[in-house]
């Protein structure tokens, strides 16, 4: 959208130049001509004008034009798709003009699966993002987060700012399936590339294929849409061009956790909480301890610390991204070389991520009719972090994953004087209280990864219109993760001795894991493009492809490092060590076909199919067939309509597509194989092999299929100043591929239950994309917005559904909640309510079914509100350009989601020792002296923590995602220092969010314990070309 704006602006600027030139008067006559492209095809719709004159026309469908001009006039040919061209009128009356395709004209040519199509002739629902100066100037840690708000119907949700783990989760047109619903990412024709490791500076364009017609050439894996990324080339460039972009940002949190940095007060909170059911003499914390800490804390911050934990484990982050690229070409070949480095310092201490990228793209004509080329991309990253989510680890096997709630303030994280890491000191405090600092400093995880993506192709055009092409691609990765924790022990500064808590034992070892693998893809294809007669354009594609994946991993660990400073596996004793390893492979075989027909440049037809065979399925249900068809009508090309609409409607097209897509992503590689599971036993002290039959295979398991109907309308008004696109879709996902539900009599032995085609889910939605661009005097401006609304409905489910937030004829994961009557202020309130074990200060629940009890049956469904994702997303972008200055404001928002704000940090029934109370625990809980408290009393009824409307927050938000002020140094100045383009930018991300959510961020889950904040960043960026 942004790019559209820029391109359009450039055209307007061009027009401006035309207008301002002086008119030349001479003998007028009519000259004719034909405009063709490099392949000799006639080019319609090329504007032809006399420089400095008022005459102008466009070429017709056969590329012919007719204009009156006089000798010596300069004819200027411009179009959005081709490079401008000019010629002097001489004595001839008939001219043959050849235009070169322009590289910056991707607005009008859209990358689709295995090819490019003219946008005007597109019949599928495709959204495009052009990566321009404005995008690369932003402090975007990865491509997925760059997609936020760029295409209607594409949701990119970024729920953490953790360096190295801040990618956005992508979802096209709502939750397509209860299975894996992420879209397929294809980079330069190769599927399965991690979108987050692509250098954004290398990208030319991103296409988002949303409907069946556009995506069906990706068949079995396209059910959730496809994101096609095309990297840059030097095509069409005569001169070699160097580009340098650089972005330096400081990063701060949008919002953080407000832990109490006042330990005596925190102990008082503990006393208040336990006073509900414990006599003062039996409470863990004594008044004397509180008083002593209060008094001595003021003079001795080492023995009686009042630590601001959050402040200590957070720092100001930074983000830097520097990239240098060169591109160019000649008649026969072109290239693009780029190298970049990205460096992130996370908000959490010791959380760093650095990635290097290099790319070399090269295409050349090796003989007449023969072309070849290759793409090479390498990236290398080093990542250091403490826990999987930064401050937390959601994995249940990590029992310390949610210890952040135990980070008490009465603990000195580290004393630089002695070099000791503190432990608990107060009488009664739980020695297991958490010192996050020592974990982040002494026990970081490290992950180094290298990837190579390479591919080459050879194409051959034996006869006109026919191209045969073979592609081979190889992706390789190697990932090495290691940890070698530093021994350290909790120190008690009051007694000047080590406590019993050993954070990392003296036998600290080292663990290594190497994961490596590759993917290959071989494709052979035939393309046929031909025009028959005057008005019939035909294009065909046949393609065969084989994909193969192979992954393996190996891990080892040893206890007892020889010395803490040594971190390699050989620098540890061998008496306690372990190893692990595994491998797996997968194959996919595909046949693809496509047929396009364009008649009279206004009747459009496209038919696609793909047949996929996957090694994941057993013979008989291995192959899936995914056909689709689409028709389009450019009604503004019809004379009788043109007559009426000519004045305001520049272009109009209706299109309808229908087809099916598949999804096999949820199925494991060997899930459908009859294998025995290893279940070992011990005889004496020796481990004995054991094999058990743990699998029941569902022989009926087939592909999950989405059938999509898409109807769209593309309109452009007033000479493209106003453009609008509207899409409606109806997607029915049938046979969602999910683990079945086994009887409890089987689950203990046969687990997981085999996958089954469990049910159908329907997604309906509309998408609008509207953009207005114009100028007032020397000010160019534009406003664009997009809006997407999605609703889904679970239509069938072939096993029992009990009460819960998943139910038939309801949206998937609707809000299912207890209704709260608010906080009971008095015993009278309690007696007036259904008995529920409450006392004043507790939240009272409504007895909705009136059975005199509060049970799970009293929950209520909110059928139009989703808990996990919004129904509505929208963005609004505005820009103003004036004399080299440009200002862009980008707003993003969503609505239709509510979630419960219930996490470990706002717990009112917390542990009676080691709890990191927040200031809200001081001010918010209800009490006899705080009747208006917005939280229930501490230590109250367990119902206070139920998912009730009391904690239900509207997650709708409006966010100022990006504000950018740029200044392009004028050409005049640049010419003198032979620089082509220099733009200086100030940019800010996430500078403000309007939301009713009481928690950290409305894009996070409401019950999320992950406290890694979302980043707010301020950057300075340079775009330089020479």
């Amino acid at each position: 959208m942004l790019l559209g704006a820029v391109a359009c602006m450039k055209m307007s600027a061009w027009a401006l130049v035309l207008l301002s030139s002086l008119p030349l008067m001479a003998q007028q006559r009519t000259v004719n001509g034909t405009v063709k492209d490099e392949a000799g095809e006639a080019l319609p719709n090329i504007s032809v004008a006399v420089r400095g004159g008022s005459a102008g026309t466009t070429t017709d469908a056969l590329g012919k034009f007719r204009i009156s001009a006089s000798k010596g006039d300069e004819l200027v040919f411009t179009s959005a798709t081709h490079e401008p061209f000019s010629l002097k009128v001489d004595d001839r009356d008939d001219y043959l003009v050849g235009l070169k395709q322009s590289s910056s004209s991707l607005n009008d040519v859209v990358v689709v699966g295995y090819g490019r199509q003219k946008k005007v002739n597109l019949v599928g629902a495709v959204g495009t993002v052009n990566v321009d100066d404005k995008m690369v100037s932003r402090a975007l840690p990865n491509v997925s987060s760059a997609l936020t708000g760029m295409v209607p119907g594409l949701q990119a949700v970024q729920s953490s700012g953790m360096a190295g783990n801040n990618n956005a989760s992508l979802l096209i047109r709502g939750l397509g399936t209860v299975n894996n619903a992420s879209p397929l990412v294809v980079v330069d024709g190769m599927p399965d590339v991690n979108i987050n490791r692509i250098n954004i500076n290398d990208i030319e364009t991103i296409s988002v294929l949303k409907d069946a017609t556009s995506a069906s050439v990706y068949g079995s894996r396209a059910a959730n849409g496809v994101i096609l990324i095309t990297t840059r080339s030097g095509k069409g460039q005569k001169k070699t061009r160097l580009d340098f972009t650089s972005n330096v940002s400081i990063v701060t949190p949008t919002r953080g956790q407000d832990f109490m940095d006042d330990y005596p007060r925190a102990l008082t909170v503990q006393q208040r909480r336990t006073s509900v059911n414990t006599l003062p003499g039996n409470q863990l914390f004594k008044l004397g301890t509180v008083d002593e800490w209060f008094a001595r804390g003021m003079v001795d911050p080492v023995k009686f610390p009042n630590t601001d934990v959050w402040d200590i484990i957070l720092r100001q982050g930074s983000f830097q991204n520097h990239n240098l690229s060169a591109s160019g070409g000649s008649e026969n070949s072109n290239f693009f070389i780029s190298a970049g480095v990205k460096d992130e310092k996370g908000l959490q201490i010791n959380n760093d991520y650095r990635q290097y990228n290099a790319r070399f793209n090269f295409d050349t004509k090796i003989r007449n009719r023969w072309n070849a080329g290759f793409r090479f991309n390498g990236n290398w990253s080093n990542w250091r972090y403490a826990l999987a989510e930064g401050f937390n680890d959601p994995d249940a096997s990590n029992t310390a994953g949610n210890d952040m709630q135990y980070a008490i303030s009465g603990l000195l994280p580290y004393d630089p004087k002695t070099g000791y890491f503190g432990g608990v000191m107060a009488y009664g405090e739980d020695p297991q209280a958490y010192n996050p600092y020592t974990l982040y400093i002494n026990s970081p995880s490290r992950n180094n990864r290298q990837e190579i993506q390479s591919q080459m192709y050879l194409d051959w055009s034996p006869i006109k219109g026919l191209t045969a092409r073979a592609d081979y691609a190889l992706n390789y990765y190697n990932q090495f993760s290691w940890a070698a924790n530093m021994p350290n022990q909790a120190y008690n500064f009051q007694t000047a001795s080590f406590g019993s808590r050993v954070y990392v034992g003296a036998n600290a070892g080292v663990s290594n894991t190497t994961a490596t693998g590759f993917k290959t893809m071989l494709t052979g294809r035939l393309n046929y493009n031909r025009k028959f007669g005057r008005n019939h354009d035909v294009a065909g594609l046949l393609l065969y492809s084989e994909e193969y994946w192979y992954d393996r991993s190996q891990g080892s660990s040893r206890n007892d490092r020889l010395h803490p400073s040594l971190t390699e596996i050989n620098a540890a004793l061998t008496d306690i060590q372990s190893t692990s390893g595994t491998s797996s492979a997968e194959g996919l075989q595909s046949y693809i076909g496509r047929f396009n027909y364009t008649g009279y440049n206004k009747y459009l037809l496209e038919v696609n199919f793909r047949v996929d065979g996957s090694s994941k399925f057993i013979q008989g249900s291995r192959f899936g067939f995914f056909p689709s068809a689409a028709i389009g009508w450019r009604f503004t090309e019809e004379k009788f309509i043109q007559k009426v609409t000519d004045k305001f409607l520049t272009n109009g097209k209706v299109r309808v597509s229908y087809g099916s897509l598949g999804n096999n992503s949820g199925v494991g590689r060997y899930e459908q194989k009859e294998t025995l599971a290893n279940l070992n036993y011990v005889i004496g002290s020796a481990v004995q092999r054991g094999f058990a039959n743990s699998k029941m295979i569902n022989r009926m398991l087939t592909w999950e299929t989405s059938t999509v109907l898409n109807a769209g309308l593309d309109l452009s008004f007033l000479n493209n100043r106003l453009t609008a696109t509207v899409d409606y879709y109806n997607r029915l996902t049938t046979g969602m591929n999910r683990p079945s539900e086994f009887s409890i009599f089987l689950l203990g032995a046969y687990s997981p239950a085999p996958r089954t085609n469990i049910g159908n889910l329907r997604n309906n939605g509309v998408e609008f994309d509207l953009s207005w661009k114009d100028r007032v005097g020397k000010v160019f401006y534009g406003v664009s917005g997009n809006f997407a609304y999605n609703q889904n409905r679970l239509e069938s489910w072939n096993t029992l559904l009990l009460r819960g937030n998943i139910f038939l004829q309801m949206p998937y994961q609707f809000v299912y909640t207890y209704e709260s009557k608010g906080i009971a202020q008095s015993w009278a309130d309690i007696y007036a309510a259904t008995p529920q074990g409450a006392a004043p200060g507790d939240i009272l629940m409504q007895d909705l079914n009136g059975d005199g009890r509060i049970t799970a049956d009293d929950r209520k469904a909110l059928p139009n509100t989703l808990q996990e994702m919004p129904t509505t997303t929208y963005t609004l972008t505005g820009f103003v350009n004036w004399k080299g200055f440009d200002l862009t404001v980008f707003l993003q928002g969503s609505a239709g989601r509510k979630d419960f704000w219930l996490n470990i940090y706002n717990n009112t029934n917390f542990n009676n020792a080691r709890y990191a109370a927040s200031w809200e625990h001081w001010t918010n809980p209800w009490g006899w002296d705080n009747r208006g408290g917005s939280w229930p009393r501490m230590g109250g009824s367990g119902n206070n923590r139920l998912s009730s409307t009391y904690w239900l927050d509207n997650m709708a938000f409006l966010r100022a995602k990006n504000v950018q002020l740029g200044y392009s140094v004028p050409d005049k100045v640049l010419k003198t220092i032979s620089i082509e383009n220099l733009r200086l930018v100030l940019s800010a991300e996430n500078i403000g969010t309007l939301s009713q959510f009481r928690g950290l961020d409305p894009e996070k889950q409401g019950d999320d314990n992950n406290v890694y904040p979302i980043n707010k960043s301020y950057s300075f960026a340079i775009n330089l070309s020479f």
């Binding site: 039996n282 034996p462 084989e546 306690i576 997968e586 075989q589 032995a749 029992l800």
Partner: protein, 619 residues
């Protein structure tokens, strides 16, 4: 349109190339990927070794539903289970026990996962039994036949044990005795009456008794005395139910005659186990030596019995083995993690003795109960540590049953601290004084640290006092049948049949003697009831932490005896300081008592299967 001939030819060549490519895929068997590292089901069940390998998996699955029975001790009144270390989703890490309630009341509806895994274990056994019976035994001869029959015997013993556990918790349960191939075979199952299930279990035990060797082929496998003991235990439970009734179980009738028959059969089996196989208590029942109060260099034999050092001794009639070498941690047990505090390899103290058990340990001098302990708070009462019979005065614990020191620690008792697999020296336990520096007799210590104790006592039983293995790497062979238990069960069943018998009293005294207690005074076996009380006392002390108490309370219908009648004040459980900790059975209605006598048939399954009826108190 005309296409030049030369182009046509090229075109044909090209098409042929593409067609060839499509015909023969470049990678062989692209769509037939063979799993690496997973065994193809088709190549199995060929040799006797395969039968053993399948049996090992059955052992592993059955182990998983018995080796954390200690959590179930929380259903009694003497052990607190405040949570579990069981990892969800990992059968080798206690998943069957995960998520259940181990309080003395209100637990009956929470054992869905356990129920599920019990049936999982049944399938593992059926897989062995049916495959050997159908694929191997028909053609087997000689030793091969005998070996295969013994393997079937082991699998049937385990299947019987699993169903025994199922009926003792849920009463009537569906019986699955064959391999299941499809979910639809079990979606409409009905519950079989308990009597019918009991007959099937007896058939399994009978087969095992007939086919198993007198001595197991290896530690961790089973033998004939195990089969006999389980058959006896089934009859003992059956006798208890028939005698005391099980009103919560629909269709179950009380019958004194049937009870007598069952007790008689039980006594015969137990007697055989006690006499016919040369089995003795650990170290012949020698109590061993004991250290002075506060010291723990020398601990009684009863302590050693529950450490891996005693693995393979003849008292352990049937065990499930573990091997927790750090290189193979998934086979380890987590007794240390569950039974000790942070001081010992950062353990979590999920299990602890309740204060109330302190008074149950008898005096060496009288062989009877000591004066009642007096709970006192030393932070408010300076004399608490010295007051006579004070629960925080170490001297109050002098001259007690050796098993007390072997089982638990009170204030100023010490144990070995462990960290990073090495000893950190002795650590004294002082309630509410966690990880503090303290100097005792001139030696500096860091006190025992735990966040899991609320009674004033922690366990010593099951906690290794030497390093080398982590808290999840234990290699203790968990007993599911112990000779001491067989002695007590013999005493109980024979007492039900014919009152106190001399050989029964002798066996009870043998158990008492390992605690260095004097023999029972005649008054203690003067009547059937008096002897029963002595047996119950012995079961409480001898079997504490082994998960038996809840089952005993239920089969004796003794919940009311312990906690008072419905609607009453219940019982406050306290700590050595006298602070109220937890109160159970306050104002508890009849229905909850009933629910504590029988477990709830998992409702998730009943929602799907209307044939599956529910037990009375859960309707």
């Amino acid at each position: 349109m005309k296409i030049p001939v030369i182009h046509m030819r090229k075109c044909i060549i090209l098409l042929a190339c593409v067609a060839m490519m499509a015909q023969t895929s470049c990678r062989k068997e692209l769509l037939d990927q063979t799993p690496t590292g997973l065994l193809d089901a088709q190549v199995f069940w060929k040799t006797e070794a395969d039968a053993t390998i399948a049996l090992m998996a059955a052992y592993s699955a059955v182990r998983a539903v018995f080796n954390r029975d200690y959590y179930l001790d929380g259903h009694g009144e003497f052990t607190r289970c405040r949570g579990t270390s069981a990892t969800s989703g990992n059968i080798l890490r206690g998943d069957p026990y995960q998520g259940a309630n181990y309080d003395p009341s209100g637990y009956g509806g929470s054992f869905t996962k356990y129920f599920q895994y019990l049936y999982g274990a049944v399938h593992r056994c059926n897989y062995v039994i049916e495959n050997i019976n159908l694929k191997m035994l028909p053609t087997a001869t000689g030793t091969n036949k005998a070996n295969l029959e013994a393997i079937v015997g082991e699998a049937r013993l385990m299947r019987g044990m699993v169903y025994f556990r199922l009926i003792s918790m849920w009463g009537d349960v569906p019986y699955i005795g064959k391999i299941i191939y499809n979910n639809s075979e079990v979606t409409a199952l009905k519950r079989a009456p308990i009597g019918q299930v009991r007959d099937s279990i007896l058939a399994d035990f009978d087969y095992a008794v007939a086919k198993l060797p007198a001595k197991a082929i290896g530690l961790g496998r089973s033998s004939k005395p195990a089969a006999l003991a389980f058959r006896g235990k089934l009859n003992l439970f059956w006798g208890s139910w028939k005698k005391n009734g099980w009103p919560e179980l629909e269709g179950f009738t009380q019958s004194a005659a049937e009870a007598q028959a069952a007790f008689t059969a039980a006594a015969a089996d137990f007697k055989s186990v006690a006499n016919d196989f040369g089995l003795t208590l650990y170290k012949n029942g020698d109590p061993g030596k004991i250290d002075a109060l506060g010291n723990a260099e020398i601990l009684p034999n009863y302590f050693e019995l529950f450490t891996p050092k005693a693995n393979g001794n003849s008292e352990m009639i049937m065990v499930f083995t573990h091997s927790g070498t750090p290189t193979n941690p998934s086979q380890g047990e987590e007794l240390m993690r569950d039974f000790s505090g942070r001081t010992v390899e950062g353990s979590q103290c999920w299990m602890s003795p309740r204060y109330e058990i302190g008074n149950r340990y008898q005096l060496l001098t009288t062989g009877d109960y000591a004066p009642k302990l007096v709970p006192l708070n030393p932070t408010t009462n300076p004399a608490a540590r010295t007051t006579l019979n004070s629960a925080v005065n170490p001297n109050s614990y002098a001259n007690r049953d050796y098993r007390m020191k072997a089982t638990m620690m009170w204030d100023y008792e010490q144990c070995i601290g462990l960290n990073s697999l090495k000893s950190t020296g002795m650590s004294p336990f002082i309630y509410q004084t966690w990880a503090a520096n303290i100097t005792l007799l001139g030696v500096r210590y860091i006190t025992y640290n735990t966040d899991g104790c609320n009674s004033g006592y922690v366990f010593r039983k099951f906690v290794r006092n030497y390093g080398g293995l982590g808290r999840s790497e234990g290699d203790f062979a968990w007993p599911v049948m112990r000779l001491a238990d067989v002695y007590l069960m013999y005493a109980e069943s024979s007492n039900e049949v014919s009152g106190p018998l001399a050989d029964a009293v002798t066996l009870v005294n043998r158990v008492r003697a390992r605690g260095a207690l004097p023999a029972l005074t005649p008054a203690k076996y003067a009547s059937r009831q008096a002897f029963f009380n002595a047996i119950e006392q012995e079961r409480i002390i001898e079997l504490v932490g082994e998960g038996m108490r809840g089952f005993d309370l239920r089969r004796w219908r003794a919940i009311e005896k312990t906690w008072g009648p419905p609607g009453g004040p219940g019982v406050w459980l306290i700590d050595t300081y006298g602070a109220n900790q937890q109160r159970y059975y306050l104002n508890t209605i009849d229905r909850v008592y009933q629910q504590n006598y029988i477990f709830q048939i998992p409702t998730t399954e009943r929602d799907r299967n209307p044939n599956l009826t529910q037990n009375i108190p859960w309707r």
